[in-house]
């Protein structure tokens, strides 16, 4: 049985109920009537309530650490008014989506966890909770022969106040499945919420994490499992020419030695519906050793003689060559102009400000190395994997197995750090390819840290050339800039920069160009935005300095009355750092503001403004004394989670700015492990405070994990300039003569 609902965005969906395991199961279905959509033919339970009161919430997203899965359950619990201690999570099986399109993807595409508060997803979760609650109340009313209005609920208990009777949810769950509502209940207004915005429970996985029982991808155990170690072409795009398996075959535990060939991918037998397409998920030519234990596999791999053809990538001999070629592209001024206003000829009049900026390739360095476990047999494939996107993972598995979709099962595990690295699932393709060559037993494939580092899908390397002509008032009369991308290109925070959107600069010309290399790139926490924010916010600072104006006032004037919320973020951060108070000798203060993912809209996305105070000693030791962060994401459903994402994002962005930058050496990445990938640890973390005063209350719950990654770096750079007069136009800062003071 089912009831039609029309959602806020006017797409129809259906709620249906059924008895499962003696309890209530609720499903969502899209109103979509595509062929093959058999409502209720297969169960795709979003929410189940068992007779023992346990509540299972099915999540279509992974958990990468931001608590999105817990938040999804919280959203349901707000309306269900259930006992939170009874709530458990289960991952969606993507095959249900295939059997019954719209089962999980109704406004809820299985996308990485950044979307726990996604507008559509929240609505569906709230509706499910309310629909389940009303069914339970109706079932209780029938049991008690009373009006539904006389039944109230509290913490998974149904209560009839007049008679004092009570029933637990589990006791009427099966009855509730048979209830046919004439219409689905309206959800609460935000003002009626009792949990959202008020409670911040621990993540549902927290207890397992602290006891060591949580299952990340690397922790999967299967009966009879063997282990594989691999080495892919050190120069991306290169190939195995030859290898001497006989040299290692007799080593302890070794079972098989073979290669992976990108040309061997069988391909999906049906059209794929992957989230990001499959073009960027090709195998990399590799040698693989399978052994009884991982240590044995790794030792044999290290001893395996391999000859590589490095291919064309070896041309890129070092970082200087890449930078030089990017600058040549920029000097040609031939990029595609994506934002333009006013005169397109750069004015000769007025004070000229010009700068070229560089940001390098960076490695995500998720603390859980890349891995996965797969069991391939003639007619089925099972994979256990820490994917960042369930739909992408599924279709990559289908494509690399050549099996029919119904023969493929991908089991989601906890994800030991994502940051975008695990969104394409090209790592899962490797796991399937290995299992296909070693069928019949489960194989756990582990990238060593060295392999994880050298076979990344890195942050795009970007150079930017920025020019401004200042008017008599010191404000930019013209701002022309071009960004040259080596890798994944996203323009967020550049072509839609707020200073363009605000309309206060008469002549604008923002263009983009590309310099492709062989290096594989991909999404890296706030992709490309994390470079654009550094360049834009450093350049605006340079303009303010050139104009002899205060950097905070300058930004406020540039933004004009475009967005009171942005201006408020600037004012709060400035006030917290004591912007208008005297700066101690040798110290400097800097500020920067940016928004993910809607820099060009005054009331959208998450704006963060970061103010910092630093000092630099005579021997170039940098001390970051304080970090103050103001932000506006509209509204907040989980204060503690928002603070965690802001803290973590600031630290991630700080590490990116101070420490991160990979080194090209004849086409390969030189760094291998953490001794060459410096990471901030406790001793490096300055005092930081998240300030709530700029939160606007605008009706949105914008995602918050990416935004702070953009504004922290330029704030530190601008502060270093104020302290020293030295302008840092590339990252990482700590490879430019500075060292970081330790607490």
């Amino acid at each position: 049985m089912s009831t039609k609902i029309t959602s806020m965005n006017r797409r129809q969906f259906l709620v249906s109920s059924a008895v499962v395991a003696g309890g209530l199961s609720l499903q969502l279905h899209s109103g979509d009537t595509r062929a093959g959509h058999h409502l209720g033919a297969q169960l795709s339970p979003w929410l189940q309530i068992y007779p023992d009161d346990r509540i299972i919430v099915t999540v279509p997203t992974p958990e990468i650490g931001n608590g999105a899965t817990t938040q999804h359950a919280m959203n349901i619990a707000e309306e269900l008014e259930c006992d939170w201690d009874q709530v458990e999570l289960a991952y969606a099986d993507y095959r249900e989506e295939l059997r019954s399109p719209g089962s999980f993807a109704v406004g809820s595409i299985p996308f990485f966890s950044g979307h726990g508060t996604d507008h559509d997803r929240m609505f569906y979760a709230l509706q499910l909770g309310a629909s389940a609650r009303e069914r339970l109340k109706s079932a209780a009313a029938i049991r008690w022969a009373c009006a539904v209005a006389e039944v109230r609920v509290e913490n998974s208990v149904l209560i009839h106040d007049a008679s004092g009777r009570r029933l637990r949810y589990g006791e009427v769950a099966a009855d509730a499945a048979a209830i046919q509502l004439s219409e689905e209940p309206a959800i609460k207004t935000q003002a009626q919420w009792t949990r959202l915005g008020k409670l911040s429970p621990s993540k549902l996985q927290a207890v397992q994490v602290v006891r060591g029982t949580a299952t990340f991808g690397l922790d999967v155990q299967r009966p009879g499992m063997v282990y594989a170690a691999l080495k892919q072409s050190p120069v991306h795009g290169g190939q195995v020419v030859s290898f001497d398996a006989d040299a290692v075959r007799a080593m302890p535990g070794v079972r098989a030695v073979f290669t992976l060939d990108p040309n061997d991918t069988p391909g999906s037998p049906v059209p794929v519906q992957s989230t990001f397409g499959l073009a960027d998920t090709r195998l990399r030519s590799a040698v693989v050793v399978v052994a009884d234990h991982y240590w044995q596999a790794k030792k044999a791999l290290d001893a395996l003689p391999v000859t590589w053809d490095n291919g064309l990538g070896a041309f890129w001999r070092d970082n200087a060559l890449l930078q030089e070629r990017q600058e040549q592209v920029l000097q040609r001024e031939g990029g595609a102009v994506l934002t333009r206003a006013g005169a397109q000829q750069f004015p000769e009049k007025g004070q000229q400000v010009e700068a070229i900026y560089h940001t390098p390739f960076c490695e995500h360095a998720t603390l859980e190395p890349l891995n996965g476990t797969a069991l391939y047999r003639d007619d089925d494939l099972s994979v256990w994997h820490p994917a960042q996107d369930l739909a992408q993972a599924f279709w990559v598995a289908v494509d690399e197995s050549g099996l029919q979709p119904e023969q493929v099962r991908v089991h989601q595990t906890l994800v030991g750090g994502g940051f975008g690295r695990r969104s394409m699932s090209e790592d899962l393709r490797v796991v399937v390819a290995v299992a296909r060559q070693y069928p019949g037993v489960p194989v756990k494939v582990i990238w060593s840290r060295e392999e994880t580092t050298q076979q990344g899908a890195y942050r795009t390397a970007i150079s930017g050339r920025y020019r401004a002509a200042l008017g008599d008032d010191g404000m930019p009369a013209a701002l022309h800039a071009e960004a040259c991308f080596s890798g994944l290109q996203l323009n967020l925070g550049f072509t839609d920069m707020p200073y363009a959107a605000a309309g206060t600069i008469p002549s604008l010309r923002l263009s983009v160009s590309e310099l492709p290399t062989h290096i594989v790139t991909g999404a890296y926490r706030a992709p490309c935005f994390n470079s654009h924010a550094f360049m834009v916010e450093t350049f605006i600072d340079e303009c303010a300095v050139a104009a002899g104006q205060d950097p905070v006032d300058y930004r406020l004037r540039l933004l004009g009355d475009w967005s009171p919320a942005w201006s408020q973020c600037l004012r709060v951060a400035a006030e917290k750092i004591g912007w208008d108070t005297p700066v101690p000798a040798g110290h400097g203060r800097g500020i920067a503001i940016s928004n993910w993912p809607y820099s060009g809209s005054p009331d959208a996305g998450a704006t963060t403004c970061v103010a910092v105070e630093v000092s630099v000693s005579d021997d170039d030791v940098l001390t970051i004394h304080r970090i103050e962060c103001a932000f506006d994401c509209g509204r907040v459903v989980n204060r503690n989670a928002v603070e965690a994402q802001l803290e973590g994002g600031l630290i991630f962005g700080l590490n990116m700015t101070l420490n991160e930058g990979l080194t090209l050496r004849d086409g390969a990445i030189e760094e291998t492990n953490f001794h060459q990938l410096p990471m901030l640890t406790l001793k490096d973390i300055p005092p930081m405070t998240i300030h709530w005063e700029a939160l606007s209350g605008h009706d949105r719950f914008a995602i918050i994990g990416e935004a702070p990654v953009g504004s922290i770096g330029p704030a530190v750079g601008n502060a270093i300039f104020q302290a020293t007069g030295r302008r840092l136009r590339s990252t990482p800062f700590l490879r430019q003569g500075l060292t970081l003071a330790q607490s």
Binding site: V210, E368, G648, L680
Partner: protein, 151 residues
């Protein structure tokens, strides 16, 4: 291969293993104790931290031969029921994000509290050098300080 005997979380273990195999992989692959994590293999990140005869060590850099007859405690044995003060504080204060590094951090913190029952912020920063890529450091610091205050 050699016969290896040691005590893991109070239980005696006996197995045959290549004496060079790092304790990390003995725990994970041979004994199925996957709470101890692999992060780098070169004692840089601390994800594999365990207690060897009462002191925190990075198990990826300890060969099996070095734990002969030793007493090893991993995250699974920090308490029998998750009730170590650090474990409860970690949950209450929502310290972890992805959680992958936290077993190692907890073992390092537990060792610190044994040696320095009331550590200062400086003690914590100096003694716990584990890498957390999610940036949970402010909460790690706050939780260890809270544990010190509670003890």
């Amino acid at each position: 291969m050699e016969q290896l005997r040691f005590v893991l979380n109070g239980e005696e273990q006996q197995l045959e293993v290549d004496s060079e195999t790092p304790l990390l992989w003995v725990l994970r692959d041979h004994l199925g104790a996957t709470g101890t994590k692999y992060g780098c293999g070169i004692a840089q990140c601390g994800a594999c931290t365990v207690h060897l005869n009462g002191r925190a060590v990075r198990s990826c850099a300890v060969p099996a031969s070095a734990v002969q007859d030793a007493n090893v405690v991993t995250i699974e044995g920090l308490s029998s029921d998750g009730s170590h003060p650090l474990q409860t504080l970690w949950v209450e204060m929502n310290v972890g994000q992805c959680g992958y590094c936290q077993a190692g951090v907890l073992m390092a913190a537990a060792d610190l509290l044994q040696r320095i029952p009331e550590p200062t912020r400086e003690d914590i920063d100096r003694e716990i050098s584990n890498i957390c890529r999610c940036g949970s450091y402010p909460r790690i610091r706050a939780a260890v300080l809270a544990a010190a205050g509670a003890s």
